[in-house]
C-alpha cells in the first residue's frame, strides 16, 4: 500500500486501523492453546477513494466509522512499523464483505464527496510475542478460512491479491463426444455430475437438433437434472432385493412419502409437496408453512458460511410461499467433541470448531433476521466427523389464499434482493457427488447477508397484500437457472442475462445463470404492477430488476445482449431420464443383549447425563435469540434451563391459538434397523408435540433424509427401508407428511474406502395448540404432586444411549405400539386441555432415569420413583426399566387433587402413578423397597451441565 502524491489524485489506497481502547477481554482461548499471546484485535478498513475525493474529505468523514469514546483510529499508507507481529485477515476479492459495504455507505453519508468510495473490511490480530512459522497455518485456520480469507503477516512480504474480477469468457458451444468414456470425462471435467444415461440423452437431443449445446445450455441441464433440484434418487425406479426376493419400487417419494398423505386426506393440509414449503391451516384465516432444509456439504467446507446460508435459504423457502417467518429450528450432527486433533482428517474442521462455527452462523443469521430460533437438537456421533449435518428449518404464517402460483403470459421476470456474483457455483451439482471433489472448488463457498434478506422479508408481505405478483420462488441451489426455469416450465420464458445486476463485472453468461448468490427472490410480475412494485422496493431498500418475460412456446430462451446463448425446450429440460437403481436389504439377525460389567445405576446415569448428545445445550440455546417477536410461550429452556420437548409459539397478537414445533431423530437405531428408526422418529416427534400441548390429530410431518453413498446398493437398501418406515408410521399414527428433502452422498473417501454417515432421518413436526394458556413445560412444579408414567416399558436396550455409554452391545431396538400410543397421545392431550397436567416430559435418550433427572434439574425439586409400579410389557431387569428407550412413554406431573380426574381421563391406556415430587432435591429410585438409584440433583445437574 505504498502511496505517492500521484496516487492521491487518482484515488489513493488507504488503510484505517481502528483499535478499541476500553478494557478488552479477548476471546482468544484457542490462540492461547497454541501458546500465543494476543495483544489486541483491531478492525481494518481498506479504502479506495472515488476519483473526485481527496484525503481531506476522507479524514473529515472517518469518525463515522468509529465510536470515539471507546476506539482510536490511525490512517496508514503502509503496514505499521510496530515491532509486534500482526496478522491481517481480509475476505478474498469477490467474497461478500458486508462490513466493507456498510463502511462505504457510512462514509458517503458523512461526506457527499465520498459517494462511490469502496471499502474492504478486515481484522488485525496483534501478537505479544513471536509467532513461529509452524503454528501460523493453525492460527489462520482459527481466525479465518483460507477458502474465503486471505492472510497477511506483518513480517512477510505479501503477494499481490488476485484481481478483483475473473476473466469473462464468451459463451462457447461444446462438442459432445460419442464415446462413453469421453462423455463421462466431460461430465466430470465440466462439473456436471451426470451419469452416462443422462449424458447420452443430452447427446441424442442435440444430435437430433443438429447442433452443439452451449456451455450455458449444458450447465442448465446439469443443474436441472441434479440430485438437489430433481431428487432423482427419490424419484427413481428401484430394484429392491430383500433376502434375495426382488420387487420394483416406482419412486420412494411418491410411494412412501406422498401416498400416505393422500390416503389420510386431512382437510387441514393445504399444500403438500407442491411448493417450496408444506402448508397446513392454522385457523379460519391463516395458514402455516413449514420447511426444513439441509446445508451439509457447504457447512463442512465453511461451517459459519454454510450454516449461515443454510438458514438464509430455508427462510427464503418460506418467503417463497408468500408466508412470513415466525420461527427457526436447527438440528445439528457432529463428530464427537473429544475427538483427538490427530484423528481429524486433513481439510476437515475439528468437531468442536465445527460446532462453534455452525452455531455462530445459525445465530448470526436468525438473530439478524429477527426470527426466534426455538427448537432443535445437537447430536454427536463418530460417523459425522468428516460429514457434519446441518438441518435448518423455518416456520411461517400467511393469510389464507394469498399465495399465487401461476405466471401469466407477458409477466416480467423480476429478480429481487441481492446481486449476483460467483458465489456458490455448482452447489446443486455438488449434492450429487461426494465431498472430496467439491473441496477443491473454492467457489462453492457462500457468504450470506441477512440484512439484505431482512429487507426482502420487509417488502414481500406488502407486494403480496397488494397482489403485485403472479408467482414467487426463491433462488437457492441452481440459482436463476433453477428458479426461473421452474417458474417458466409451463409457459416458456426469455431471460436477458446481461440485465442481471452483478456484484462485480467479469461473469460469464453461464456463471450469471447458475450463480447461487444469496438473498435473491424471483417474481412473475404483471407489467401493469411494475411501477408500484418498484416504488415499494425503493422504500424498503430492495433492488428489483426486470430480467425477462414469460412468453409462450414452451422454451427457455437465454440472451446475452444480442446473442442467444441458450434455447431449450422446457419439455426436454424438465424430463430427466428416470434412473433405475439397485438396492438390497438383509434383515439383521437378532443379536442377544450382552451386558459388560455395568456400572451401578447412579454412575450409569451420571455418564448418560454427561453424554454430549444428552448434556445441556444451554450454552448454544442462549446464543440464539429465541424470544424475538415476543411470541415464544414454551421456550427451548424450561425452569432452570431444562430441555423443553418442543416449542410453542403464539403467532397472532389477538388470538390465543398456538403452534407447536418439535423433532424426532435417532441415528443409533438406524444402524440396526432403518425401518424402526423411521417409526421411532415419528413416535418421538409426536411425543414431543403432545408433551408441550400440541394436538396429535392436527399434526403434520416433514421428512429429511441425510444418507451416505447410495450408489452402494446396501446403503440404498437402508434408505428404502427408512422410507418404508415413514409410510408405515404416517399411516399407523394418522399423521401426514407435507414436505421433505433429501441430502445424499454424505460420505468421504479415506484411502480406498468410502465412509458414509450413519443414515439419519430427521422428522420435524408442526401442530396446533388450541389455547396457549394450556401449554405445558417439562420442569417439576410442586413438591407433593403425583408422578405418572404413561406407556409400556419393555426389554429394548438395543441402540440405546445406555448401551453406548456402558460399552454393551446387541439387544432389541424399541418397537412402536401405535395401537396403544395413539389413544394415549389423545387422552394426554385432552388432560392438558382440561388443565390437569403440571409438567410433562417424554422419555427418549437415556430412558426413564434421564427424563426424571432433567425434570428435577429444571424444577429444582426432587423425585421419588418406584420401578415396581411401572407398566411393563415383560418382567424387566432394573437396567431396562431405568434406561431402555421404549416408545410412546411420558412422565407426567399431576396435582393430588386432580389425580382421580386424570386417571379416569386416561382410562385403559397403560399408565401408573410411579412416585411423587419431593422438596428434598434428590432423585431416589427404588425397587422392592430398596434404592437402586440415589443422586442429589446438584450432582445430576453438574454432570448434565458438564461442569
Amino acid at each position: 500500500m505504498q502511496q505517492t502524491a500521484e496516487d492521491q489524485q487518482i484515488g489513493a489506497d488507504l488503510c484505517v486501523e481502528i483499535r478499541p481502547h476500553w478494557p478488552q477481554s479477548l476471546a482468544a482461548d484457542d490462540l492461547t492453546r497454541l501458546s500465543l499471546d494476543l495483544a489486541g484485535i483491531s478492525r481494518l478498513i481498506d479504502i479506495m477513494l472515488p476519483p473526485d475525493a481527496d484525503r481531506a474529505d476522507l479524514l473529515r468523514a472517518l469518525p463515522v466509522l468509529t465510536d470515539p469514546l471507546v476506539e482510536e483510529w490511525t490512517v496508514s499508507d503502509s503496514v505499521p512499523g510496530s515491532p509486534l507481529v500482526s496478522l491481517d485477515v481480509f475476505p478474498h476479492p469477490g467474497v461478500t464483505d458486508r462490513e466493507g459495504e456498510t463502511a462505504a455507505r457510512a462514509l458517503s453519508l458523512a461526506s457527499p464527496q465520498l459517494e462511490g468510495v469502496s471499502c474492504r473490511a478486515g481484522k488485525r490480530y496483534h501478537f505479544a510475542g513471536a509467532v513461529p512459522d509452524a503454528v501460523r497455518p493453525s492460527v489462520e485456520r482459527l481466525v479465518g478460512n483460507p477458502l474465503i480469507h486471505r492472510f497477511i503477516w506483518s513480517d512477510v512480504v505479501a503477494a499481490q491479491p488476485p484481481a478483483e474480477q475473473g476473466q469473462r469468457i464468451p459463451t462457447q458451444t461444446i462438442p459432445l463426444p460419442e464415446r462413453e468414456d469421453e462423455l463421462m470425462r466431460m461430465s466430470r471435467e465440466h462439473g456436471l455430475a451426470l451419469d452416462l444415461a443422462e449424458m447420452q440423452a443430452i447427446a441424442t437431443h442435440f444430435a437430433a437438433l443438429g447442433r452443439r449445446p452451449t456451455d450455458v445450455e449444458l450447465q442448465s441441464i446439469a443443474q436441472t437434472w441434479s440430485e438437489h433440484c430433481s431428487h432423482k434418487t427419490f424419484k427413481a425406479d428401484i430394484e429392491m432385493a430383500v433376502s434375495g426376493r426382488r420387487e420394483t419400487i416406482h419412486g420412494l417419494l411418491s410411494g412412501y412419502i406422498m401416498a400416505p398423505t393422500a390416503a389420510l386426506a386431512k382437510p387441514w393440509v393445504r399444500s403438500a409437496f407442491t411448493d417450496n414449503a408444506g402448508v397446513i391451516a392454522f385457523d379460519d384465516e391463516h395458514d402455516l408453512a413449514f420447511k426444513v432444509e439441509t446445508h451439509n456439504h457447504p457447512s463442512a467446507l465453511e461451517p459459519f458460511g454454510g450454516a449461515h446460508t443454510g438458514v438464509g435459504g430455508v427462510i427464503r423457502d418460506v418467503l417463497a410461499v408468500s408466508a412470513e417467518p415466525i420461527a427457526n429450528t436447527d438440528v445439528l450432527c457432529f463428530g464427537l467433541p473429544e475427538t483427538p486433533e490427530a484423528a481429524v482428517p486433513d481439510g476437515i474442521h475439528h468437531p468442536a470448531v465445527m460446532c462453534r462455527e455452525v452455531v455462530h452462523g445459525i445465530a448470526d443469521y436468525g438473530n439478524n433476521m429477527g426470527i426466534p430460533t426455538v427448537g432443535g437438537a445437537i447430536l454427536f456421533h463418530p460417523g459425522y466427523l468428516s460429514n457434519p449435518l446441518v438441518y435448518c428449518g423455518t416456520l411461517g404464517i400467511a393469510p389464507r389464499d394469498s399465495h399465487p402460483t401461476s405466471p401469466e403470459l407477458g409477466d416480467a421476470v423480476v429478480v429481487l434482493g441481492g446481486r449476483t456474483g460467483r458465489d456458490g457455483l455448482h452447489g446443486a451439482t455438488m449434492s450429487s457427488g461426494t465431498l472430496d471433489r467439491a473441496a477443491v472448488e473454492g467457489t462453492v463457498v457462500q457468504i450470506g447477508d441477512p440484512i439484505v434478506e431482512k429487507t426482502l422479508r420487509d417488502v414481500l408481505p406488502h407486494l403480496r397484500d397488494e397482489r403485485l405478483y403472479h408467482a414467487i420462488t426463491d433462488c437457492g441451489a441452481g440459482g436463476l437457472c433453477s428458479a426461473v426455469g421452474e417458474m417458466g416450465q409451463r409457459i416458456g420464458v426469455e431471460v436477458f442475462l446481461d440485465r442481471v445486476p452483478l456484484k462485480y463485472p467479469g461473469l460469464s453468461a453461464w456463471e450469471v445463470w447458475l450463480s447461487e448468490a444469496q438473498e435473491r427472490i424471483v417474481l412473475a410480475v404483471p407489467r401493469v404492477a411494475l411501477p408500484r412494485l418498484q416504488a415499494l422496493c425503493r422504500l424498503y431498500d430492495v433492488e428489483a430488476t426486470v430480467i425477462g418475460t414469460f412468453r409462450d412456446g414452451g422454451r427457455l430462451l437465454l440472451r446475452d445482449g444480442a446473442e442467444t446463448v441458450g434455447d431449450l425446450a422446457m419439455s426436454f429440460l424438465h424430463a430427466p431420464p428416470r434412473r433405475t437403481l439397485a438396492a438390497s436389504w438383509e434383515p439383521p439377525a437378532a443379536v442377544p443383549y450382552k451386558a459388560g460389567t455395568p456400572d451401578d445405576a447412579t454412575t450409569a446415569l451420571l455418564s448418560l447425563l454427561r453424554h454430549p448428545s444428552i448434556a445441556s445445550k444451554e450454552e448454544v440455546i442462549r446464543r440464539y435469540d429465541h424470544e424475538v417477536g415476543g411470541g415464544t410461550i414454551v421456550k427451548p429452556l424450561a425452569g432452570d434451563a431444562g430441555p423443553s420437548d418442543g416449542a410453542v409459539l403464539k403467532p397472532l397478537p389477538y388470538s390465543r391459538r398456538g403452534v407447536a414445533v418439535a423433532h424426532g431423530i435417532n441415528p443409533l437405531y438406524g444402524e440396526i434397523d432403518p425401518h424402526a428408526m423411521a417409526l421411532l422418529a415419528v413416535d418421538e416427534a409426536l411425543r414431543n408435540i403432545v408433551a408441550v400441548g400440541g394436538d396429535p390429530d392436527y399434526t403434520a410431518l416433514l421428512d429429511n433424509f441425510c444418507w451416505g453413498d447410495v450408489s452402494d446398493s446396501a446403503e440404498l437398501g437402508r434408505l428404502v427401508r427408512a422410507a418404508q418406515g415413514c409410510r408405515d408410521a404416517a399411516l399407523a399414527y394418522g399423521v401426514p407428511f407435507i414436505s421433505g428433502k433429501d441430502s445424499l452422498y454424505n460420505s468421504s473417501t479415506h484411502g480406498a474406502t468410502v465412509v458414509s454417515i450413519p443414515g439419519t432421518l430427521l422428522i420435524s413436526a408442526v401442530s396446533v395448540v388450541p389455547d396457549v394458556r394450556r401449554a405445558v413445560s417439562m420442569d417439576l412444579k410442586q413438591a407433593g404432586n403425583v408422578i405418572y408414567l404413561l406407556g409400556l416399558s419393555a426389554d429394548e436396550l438395543g441402540g440405546s444411549h445406555y448401551l453406548w455409554t456402558q460399552g454393551n452391545s446387541g439387544g432389541r431396538v424399541p418397537r412402536v405400539r401405535p395401537a396403544e400410543t395413539v389413544p394415549l397421545l389423545r387422552r394426554l392431550a385432552a388432560a392438558m386441555c382440561d388443565g390437569l397436567v403440571r409438567s410433562c416430559h417424554d422419555l427418549s435418550e437415556g430412558g426413564l432415569a434421564v427424563a426424571a433427572a432433567e425434570m428435577a434439574i429444571a424444577g429444582r425439586l426432587g423425585l421419588r420413583l418406584d420401578l415396581d409400579r411401572m407398566p411393563a410389557a415383560d418382567p424387566l431387569a432394573a437396567e431396562a426399566l431405568l434406561f431402555a428407550e421404549s416408545s410412546g412413554r411420558f412422565l407426567v406431573e399431576v396435582a393430588p387433587e386432580d389425580a382421580a380426574r386424570f386417571e379416569s381421563l386416561l382410562g385403559d391406556v397403560p399408565h401408573a402413578a410411579v412416585g411423587a415430587v419431593t422438596a428434598d432435591p434428590r432423585l431416589m429410585i427404588e425397587r422392592a423397597g430398596a434404592p437402586v438409584l440415589d443422586l442429589p440433583i446438584a450432582a445430576a445437574a453438574a454432570a448434565w451441565r458438564r461442569l
Partner: protein, 233 residues
C-alpha cells in the same frame, strides 16, 4: 386523545412489530415508520407524541451496533430529533435503539461494546429500578425482563455524570456499574438493553407455568410513556 407513536423501522431493525403491539396494548396509537419515509419527508417526526427506536441489527450492526442508523440520523435528521426532545416528548431506545441513542450522544458519554465474553446472550434477567426522574420507570420496582444482545456492555466514562435508572441485579455482560439503562437529565429519553416489549403479557414470562408473570413490567413501562404524553398540554 390517542398518543401517536412513531416506531422507527430501518433495514435490519426487527423488533418493530412487537414494539408497536406493546404500544397498542398500553393504549397508544403506534405507526411503524420506515426511516426512508422520514428521509423523503413523507412522514414528519413532529407529528408524533412518542418516538420508539426498536431493537434489531440496524444495517447489520457493521462498524458497531447502531452505528450506521445513528450516522444517518445525525447527518439527515438531527435537527428534527433534537427539536422533538427539546419539546419534552419522550424517546425510548430499546437494545439497538439504545445503541443508536448512545452513538448520537443523547444520553451523555456512554458507549455500548461487545459483551465481556464476546457472546450473544438471550436470557431473562432480574433488574433494579433506581430513584430517577425517568418517566418510563415510574412506579416500577424490581422487575424481570429478557435481554438478547451481543453488544450490551455499557462503558461509561467514570468522570462523567450520567443518569442510570436501571441496573442489572446480576451483571450478564460486563457493563460498568451493572448499568442496564441510561436516561437524560430530565428523564424523557431512555435507552435500555432489556426488551420491555417482550413482557407485556403473563404468558411471555419464562416461569408463567410456575405461577409467575402476573405483573408484566414491560406493559407498565409503555403505559407510563403513553400516559405521560397524554398528560402533556
Amino acid at each position: 386523545m390517542t398518543v401517536r407513536t412513531l416506531v422507527l423501522s430501518a433495514p435490519g431493525v426487527n423488533c418493530d412489530p412487537e414494539t408497536a403491539e406493546a404500544i397498542r396494548l398500553a393504549g397508544g396509537s403506534p405507526e411503524i415508520v420506515h426511516l426512508n419515509l422520514l428521509l423523503d419527508g413523507k412522514r414528519r417526526l413532529d407529528d408524533y407524541g412518542l418516538l420508539v427506536l426498536a431493537g434489531g441489527f440496524s444495517y447489520g450492526d457493521h462498524l458497531g451496533a447502531g452505528a450506521v442508523l445513528a450516522a444517518t440520523l445525525r447527518y439527515r435528521l438531527l435537527d428534527d430529533l433534537l427539536r422533538f426532545i427539546e419539546s419534552g416528548r419522550p424517546v425510548l431506545g430499546i437494545c439497538n435503539g439504545f445503541q443508536v441513542l448512545a452513538r448520537l450522544g443523547l444520553l451523555g458519554r456512554v458507549s455500548l461494546v461487545p459483551n465481556i465474553d464476546h457472546r450473544f446472550i438471550c436470557r431473562w434477567v432480574p433488574l433494579r429500578v433506581e430513584a430517577s426522574p425517568c418517566l418510563f420507570l415510574r412506579g416500577l420496582d424490581d422487575l424481570d425482563l429478557p435481554i438478547a444482545h451481543g453488544e450490551g456492555r455499557v462503558i461509561a466514562a467514570p468522570e462523567e455524570i450520567i443518569h442510570v435508572p436501571l441496573r442489572y441485579r446480576r451483571n450478564p455482560n460486563g457493563s460498568d456499574a451493572d448499568i442496564a439503562g441510561v436516561c437524560n437529565a430530565s428523564g424523557t429519553v431512555l435507552g435500555l438493553m432489556p426488551h420491555p416489549e417482550r413482557y407485556v403479557s403473563r404468558y411471555q414470562h419464562p416461569r408463567w407455568q410456575r405461577g409467575e408473570g402476573h405483573h408484566p413490567a414491560g406493559l407498565t413501562l409503555f403505559r407510563n410513556a403513553v400516559r405521560y404524553v397524554e398528560g402533556q398540554p
